[in-house]
Amino acid sequence: MYVVLGLGLNIVVGVAGLLDLGYVAFYAVGAYSYALLNLHFDMGFWAVLPIGALLAALFGIVLGFPVLRLRGDYLAIVTLGFGEIIRLVLENWNDFSQGPSGIANIPRPGFFGIELSLDQAILYTYYLMAALVVITIFVVNRLQDSRLGRAWIALREDEIACQAMGIDKTRTKLTAFALGATWAGMVGVIFAAKTTFINPASFTFLESAIILSIVVLGGMGSIFGVLLGALILILLPEYLRALSDYRMLAFGAILVTMMVFRPQGLIANVRRSYRFRKNPGSGTP
């Protein structure tokens, strides 16, 4: 699950260079859209999955439109605020979201109308998640070496030069933001279906920070880096449960060390090479 979130945020932070500290908000949007649509309209998992993704993307665009003219630190602060706003709204608007007590009894995903036992359902959800990971890797990989992906990277490198090259800054940034949000939305829906219970406490800033750490630790813009980062940051605390009191301390220490010694992450992103024949004209990628 964190792999997908990491890869989604990777589009925003790693590739397009927009520091987003409120990523978890889109994740919450996805989760709550499933929980609420199911509660009030009895909609199934498969119907909500695209809706949740779309809603998250919509939130991404609505938030992105005013704030994407900010850069770096300023953008980070605003997105951080946005993440908190979403959480506070969910916590306090009881009529809408049932407040801090959350929403329980969210059905698990259906399997062509067949009733599944609990074990089967859990296993099924797991495979769903795995499938989403594969799809995400596929999509991100293709995006990276596309016209759009190049524009994102160029935007990260130099905004003014980018515009001088005829790239529409706002539109390109919005796409990155919305696409990242879409993925968070999808994972949100699956998360709600997996745990069958959600409350605002699942969507704190700490979650955003962990997802961001995955991207930074693994390597900005690199798919395998993010995979590795997610594995390390999610599994390591499980194995080191005995030392759990010091977990956060170690976390911080690791991140600082990374910043100093290997700012490009564990696995740096390698740009694609193209090969050409020596004779004029016809190039072969």
Partner: protein, 260 residues
């Protein structure tokens, strides 16, 4: 020499009380190399930034006469729109995409002439693959033109200074401009590199582009320019052929000060 392709009249750019560019008139005809010179701080780069949409000029008109008789008013357009209209530029302090390869830098220049979007990138339709292929071929051809075909897969930041300058020109060419603005292309180059640049600029002109360049290297300016505009303290103080400008007392005064 034919009709003008760029007409600038009364262009002014004020920052508070400072008149960085003050009532400047300038025109460029197609196939011409025009140089814009002047002492440091004369407002040359500000002038460029007004043309390319980075600044919105305080007053004045910038009109572009594109091929096919289309007229565009450039005032207040966003930089990316200006580029779409056929005006490309390079920067005084190199602004390459450092962590992208040489080829990718040029491919970015193709951005505004291509259309693929999210769906195309994910599903890789036939149309999308063909477009991507054309981008690559076109970019490679440009790299050959600027003499960088040996380092297509190098990261831009690993190129030498002169090569980076040439790559910037290549990247600008990839947007298919008919007017190219070069901001001090020879700055920091050694004489050998400057000579190569001279050849490159002439070749670009021979391909039918008009070029406006800001340059301090007077040897380069005098040898390749058809006409020269001189600015000082934000005002246009002289224009004419290289020989005329060299003999103009106002220009000598701006550069060397009043004769004792």
């Amino acid at each position: 020499m034919s009709t003008p392709i760029l007409d600038v009249t009364g262009l002014s750019m004020h920052f508070g009380g400072i008149r960085a560019v003050d009532q400047v008139d300038l025109d460029i005809k197609s196939g011409e190399i025009v140089a814009l010179i002047g002492p440091n701080g004369a407002g040359k780069t500000t002038f460029f930034n007004c043309l390319t949409g980075i600044y919105n000029p305080t007053a004045g008109e910038i009109v572009l006469h594109g091929p096919g008789g289309k007229h565009h008013r450039l005032n207040g357009l966003k930089p990316n729109k200006v580029t779409e209209k056929g005006v490309a530029r390079t920067f005084q302090n190199i602004r390459l995409f450092q962590n992208m390869t040489v080829l990718e830098n040029v491919m970015i220049g193709r951005h505004c002439r291509t259309r693929s979007f999210i769906a195309g990138a994910i599903f890789r339709t036939r149309h999308n693959r063909r477009e991507e292929r054309q981008i690559i071929d076109h970019s490679y051809a440009i790299l050959r033109k600027v003499g960088l075909e040996k380092s297509v897969n190098e990261l831009a930041k690993n190129l030498s200074y002169g090569e980076q300058r040439r790559l910037e020109i290549g990247r600008a060419l990839a947007t298919e401009p008919f007017l190219l603005l070069l901001d001090e292309p020879a700055a920091g180059m050694n004489p050998q590199e400057t000579r190569e640049l001279d050849g490159l600029i002439s070749r670009i002109r021979d391909d039918g582009l008009a070029i406006l360049l800001i340059e301090h290297d007077m040897k380069l300016v005098m040898s390749i320019s058809d006409r020269i505009f001189v600015m000082d303290y934000g005002k246009g103080i002289a224009q004419g052929s290289p020989a005329e400008v060299r003999a103009n007392p106002a220009v000598v005064k701006a550069y060397l000060g009043e004769e004792a």
